[in-house]
Amino acid sequence: MIVAVASGKGGTGKTTVAASLSWVWKRPVFAVDLDVEEPNLHLFLKPRFTGRRTATLEVPLADEARCSHCGACAELCQFKAITVLGTVRLTFPEMCHGCGGCLAVCPEGALAPGRRELGEVLWGRVRGEIGLCMGQLRVGEALSPPLMRAVIAQARELALRDGADLVIDAPPGTSCPAIQAVSPADLIVLVTEPTPFGFHDFRLAHEAFLPLGKPMAVVVNRADLGEEDIHGYCRRLNLPVLAEIPHDRRIARAYAQGTVVAAELPERKDLFDRLATEILGHGDVPRPLPEVPSHA
């Protein structure tokens, strides 16, 4: 099973939930950090890293001698990564999305596949029993989805060996990186908080993920904070609320000290045990209603 922990707004507790969930998971599990821009899961699970590789993107490498400056590549490129002005051809590899179009269209064979470094894929183990796989985007690199795809592929390969489930920690937001992170999931768990920002972004995320047609469920963090009616909203849209985490200074402290809440606070472990059980029984989770709610 693949479960993705996501949210629209950042800082609602995705990493806290993903770390504790991996910790109490009753079957072999790989924790996968797909927030490659700002990966944090390893700071809490503290794995011993056992492998790493550099992920790259194919970008065009020009052979000046063979180029006839016909402009076919520039005409096709949708990302302004290659232009031809008279007899000058310029490539901007940092703009390239790696579609391979220019290489395929060049009649002179004047473009060869080059490489742009996207970042690193790293993996390791926690306590010997929990696997961890993460990506770290190179600072200055704009495209995170290709690196995320490399991390997912690596995690699937590693997890396949011991038939492990995947718990994905997704990046915040509602656009392409967030969609990319939840796309492989069997169940999306949305972590939210009942504050105006939390509720607003939760609805944006819910709306963004609806077209994927995947079952979704909700964890309300800092549940006694704020006044937004998340429960009413979830009831109307047939979204099950699987757990409520109270606003508790001890949880905040456990997080601030870089520990896993389920490991550090025995009195909170039950909550994550129940959440894990609920998630594993996700076959009972009703499909979200296709209705798209309007919002302010």
């Binding site: 949708q78 579609c99 990046p171 504050t195």
Partner: protein, 295 residues
């Protein structure tokens, strides 16, 4: 004209609450919400929308089933797993399509159309603190970086025509495409962080990004009293990275109370957190060479 951008690396550290307070204190700035993925600034500024326009970003591939012969050329060429083949034939998954045109170019039947893609809407609005340029990306849409670039262009146009000397922008979390698009060429970045392992780790990366784009950065630690030891580490990291130390704000329930009432913290109260925020705004004003008058 000066541009100030509020970013954080890690999400949920208080960017938007701080931006709203800066908007209150700056007076007469052009405001801009560049967190197009999950915009929240409008929740505090209650904007009256004056103009709205579609945001068109590139194109998307659409297979015409009547012309498609099912040869599979598009499937073989697509690097983004956007071509789906099932019993009903071939089609493009719009959520995966990158808009690269490769399938359109190589389809032997010319069966793939390439219409413009409407990815969202952008607005020019009036608020009690001045004009606001903001947007709404369609759920799951791509090209948030291009939308950010468009909003910045519109904010600059507006500032020029209205004779405003400052553009104040709320940024996105992370260090990827929308953040890079909002950061390049800005005059100062205010980085809001928190004293947690995540905050510490993410600050290092976002300050490295500011250095990469040669943007002067200043650091604010929110909820500083929750872990004074880590706050000291953040201060050291700030110094090591050549960033300006703008100050710290202690944890205060009044931030949530102000948010719930759709107010900036400096409107909501005059003491406690408002004093810290005013002091930080003075520091931000000093960062941009022509000082901006605070109220």
């Amino acid at each position: 004209m000066r541009e100030i951008l509020v970013i954080s690396g890690k999400g949920g550290t208080g960017k938007t609450s701080l931006t709203a307070a800066f908007a209150h204190l700056a007076r007469e700035a052009v405001l801009c919400d560049l967190d197009v993925d999950a915009p929240d600034l409008h929740l505090l500024l209650s904007p009256q929308i004056e103009t709205r326009e579609d945001f068109i970003a590139g194109h998307e591939a659409v297979i015409d089933p009547r012309r498609c012969t099912g040869c599979g050329e598009c499937l073989a060429r697509c690097r983004f797993a956007a071509v789906v083949s099932d019993r009903s034939g071939f089609r493009i998954d719009p959520l995966q399509c990158e808009g690269c045109k490769v399938c359109v170019r190589f389809c032997p039947e010319g069966a793939i159309d390439f219409p413009e893609r409407r990815s969202g809407e952008w607005f020019r609005s009036r608020t009690r603190f001045g004009s606001l340029i903001h947007a709404r990306l369609l759920p799951g849409a791509e090209n948030s970086g291009r939308l950010v670039a468009l909003l910045r262009e519109k904010a600059r146009e507006l500032a020029r025509s209205a004779g405003r000397r400052l553009i104040l922008s709320d940024g996105a979390p992370g260090i990827g495409c929308p953040v890079i698009s909002s950061l390049s060429g800005t005059d100062a970045a205010v980085v809001v962080t928190e004293p947690t392992p995540s905050g510490l780790h993410d600050l290092e990366r976002v300050l490295a990004l500011c250095r990469h784009f040669r943007v002067p950065a200043g650091v604010v630690v929110n909820k500083a009293d929750l872990a004074p030891e880590t706050t000291r580490s953040l201060k050291a990291e700030c110094r090591e990275n050549g960033a300006a130390w703008l100050g710290e704000i202690d944890y205060d329930e009044r931030f949530l109370a102000a948010m719930t009432r759709r107010m900036a913290i400096t409107e909501f109260c005059d003491d406690g957190p408002a004093i810290a925020v005013r002091r930080i705004w003075d520091g931000v004003s000093n960062m941009v060479s022509r000082p901006v008058r605070a109220c």
